[in-house]
Symmetry: C4
Subunit: 276 residues, 4 copies
């Protein structure tokens, strides 16, 4: 987030530089203001998510509808201003130095796109009356929460663990998918004749398969033939074993990460250099 | 629990000192009486909890109601006397030396508050006839069991493991909460139109979400649209992965704790000091 | 199982000694016969368990009832003769040398008691006509399978792992029980008013509690009030964490055991003696 | 897959050698063509599996039935030609050098049998009109997917982990089976009288048992008597513990495998040779 700031004495540039220090850096001068701004931003995002969630409760929607709409409008205006300010000031960062192409490149960065996706749906719904589209766009509103992840250590740790163990995860998830397809297909052939409404097709049986492997067992769909039950038993046992793979990988990766961050410089054996 | 005991020869103080030795210390003089008293205390608490549990079984309540009430009255009187004795004798402890402020500070300690909460509800229900309040206060009665935890190594071990791994637990639980909110919100938008009675609001969908992530699957609420089922499948798989994090942390923390307690002084390598 | 065998030349003693070698030792002279006898024994026990299981299938019972009864009678006669032979020959073992007290002590050993429990129910049902008692005694028949465990390495490994980690298991299971009682009690108070038929008493709620903590979720009983659902969510999350403790302990104990058995003598560092 | 190729200058042999290089080797000359061919093969297999899956969706089957049948015929012809080509060229491999016995031995290799099983069902269904048989043979079609596993690293890793830990897995799975039989038998005797339709026989109760141990809990079958519920609770707790064994084994085996493949030669301590 930090980057060298060029010295420039035009008054607009001076404002831009100060805003940059507040919005994009967390150390150096303006650190106090920066902290306050970030806290305000996190609060607005969290309250906004809370409003979106509570707005779906019928009794609350009826009573406080006015308030929810007002708060949504306020949030979007706040996020919109913030977005344009960030685009304006991004040139202070060495990476986006060029007034036009630098700003364009900033606008295409993941952070800026997440930011834009948090406000765009609101403007689209203003000009559109297609209810199906509006419903889809409403889903996007909750993704505003992802803006918080930038400030969350939890998210950063998980992200780096997943990246560290990417190969193992891809490997075990692909094996899981393979077994899921095989097992669901066989189950379909075993159960379809007896329960044509539930095991109606292989894609429909995948729903059973994933829940059987993850041992969820909602109970809406399960085999009733002896052969089907036998396969379901094997699947449950195997599912636990298969899930052990990614699970163990993530857990050990997480433990390694935490350990490596906690490690302080300790004296080492002069012979083999191992930690004492 | 142990602390130096001041020498003082007034007869009341002598009694107080002896009671202190019995109730608050487990070593030194009066160790035998102390052990007996603690066993009696643990028995009363356990039997009381058992009585509370059995009292909720209709057939037993009807037959032995009289006995349950009597035992409850006896327990509360026992705990009340014990409470006042403990407040009286606490000044024997260096920490609570002052006759007034020391006793007040003792009364605000966690142990004393748990003790008070174990008896207070009984007295409140004597003077109140508000049934809703009485019902809530009844819940508190079972918390008397927490008084036992002071004597249980299991509880102490778990507590120290949780404290050791606090950071990792907070981190993974906060990530879990974040994903829970995101997934439940998306699921609400996907399923609400089809099952407006079950996925009635995002808070209602959180109930599905937590059970899907923990792979409980009661079966009272589950998606039926293809998109919803797909999200539920991903959630189950991801849930297992996410739970692997706190789970692995606790398990390894527990193993470390046990190992460190079992570790006896063993000879070490003269070169690097590692355990041989 | 092996023990020094006294030299004795009476013909009955000679037979006894040979039988002892066959039935109770697996090395030395008579090893071949011993192996054959043990294989026959394991086969009879396994086939007997299979017969007990298949006998409960109505269609099979009707058709092959005669065969099942005959096989049961044959098995019991076989086990009975074997039992008396073992009691007769046990004096060949140094531990049970005395003709009367030695034999009595043998009869009180775990192995002999399991053996007796495998045959006694049959004889009791011959003289009793109380159907309730007969049904209970039938349960015991399946425990004959435990006689096999003496020959199974799996059982021995698990047993030694459980013994190694006894302390940790007791500790975590007692904590589990404690939380189960607390959570079920609170859930009872939260849900009883709304679902008096399902959450009818605290003992009845324990059924919900154990399934919620183990994330089984049969769906026959689950909270419907917002507070109850919240507690159920916390319970599921906590349950996974709590089960991680004994689970991790067993898994690591098992891994240690296997590793220690696989370990071959390897060269060690002359400095610190650690394995190279 | 690679093997020394004999030098031979007959034109048919030259074609055979080139085909062998393309189909059976992935390095050396013809590497580019080999890669393209393998990609085409994987695509045909994957698309074929997708067609089999989608063909079971009624709406898709009605609309695109013609296409599905055509694609199936095309795939089988493709696989058949490939099969005969592979049998023809296998003599280029030192292992299958003999024109008759070498080819026979190739045809009995696992790879060739899987290949044959992928095409044979199609030809059998052409000459048979027995619907039951055709349905069974349809199941086999999905096994064509197993041909992909030859190209998948995931499958190879899992396979080698399972082989490494075979002993531990057999041990823990056999213990699981033992407990499953014991618990299900006892549960049958406890619940049969109350729920004769659900716990109808011990084999039927095994379905409950496996789902209880794996904590699936579909909810179609669960105990209702107090004793049965108690046993089910113990089973759930024990099931988690028992599954911890194979699960931990697989996870650690997987971690070891990945680590050993990632391990690069690093400098070692001159004293004890341990990795620095």
């Amino acid at each position: 987030m930090q980057s060298p700031i060029r010295v420039d004495h035009h008054p607009a540039n001076s404002l831009r530089r100060n805003l940059y220090r507040i919005l994009e850096t967390t150390t150096g001068k303006k650190r106090g203001v920066s902290l306050v701004f970030n806290l305000v931003l996190i609060s607005v995002i969290t309250l906004n998510a809370l409003a979106i969630i509570l707005n779906t409760v019928p009794s609350l929607r009826q009573r406080y509808d006015r308030f929810f709409v007002d708060f949504e409008v306020f949030s979007v205006i706040f996020f919109t201003i913030e977005y344009f300010v960030r685009v304006w000031i991004c040139v202070e960062n060495e990476k986006y130095r060029h007034p036009v192409f630098g700003r364009l490149r900033y606008m295409l960065s993941t952070t800026a796109i997440i930011h834009l996706l948090a406000i765009l749906p609101f403007y689209v719904t203003l000009f559109h009356t297609d209810l199906a589209l509006i419903r889809i766009l409403r889903i996007f509103r909750i993704f505003r929460l992802f803006r918080i992840t930038r400030y969350s250590r939890a998210f950063q740790v998980i992200q780096s663990v997943v990246e560290d163990k990417k190969e193992e995860l891809v490997l075990s998830v692909s094996f899981l998918m393979f077994m899921l397809v095989i097992i669901s297909s066989v189950m379909y052939y075993l159960e379809h004749a007896t329960q044509p409404d539930k095991f109606s097709s292989i894609p429909a049986t995948l729903w059973w398969g994933i829940n059987a492997m993850a041992t969820v067992g909602y109970g809406d769909i399960h085999p009733i033939t002896p052969m089907g039950k036998m396969l379901a038993g094997v699947t449950a046992v195997m599912g636990i074993g298969l899930f052990a793979l990614p699970t163990g990988i993530l857990a050990s990766g997480f433990a390694e990460h935490i350990r490596s961050q906690k490690a302080v410089h300790k004296p080492h054996c002069p012979h083999c250099g191992k930690e004492l």
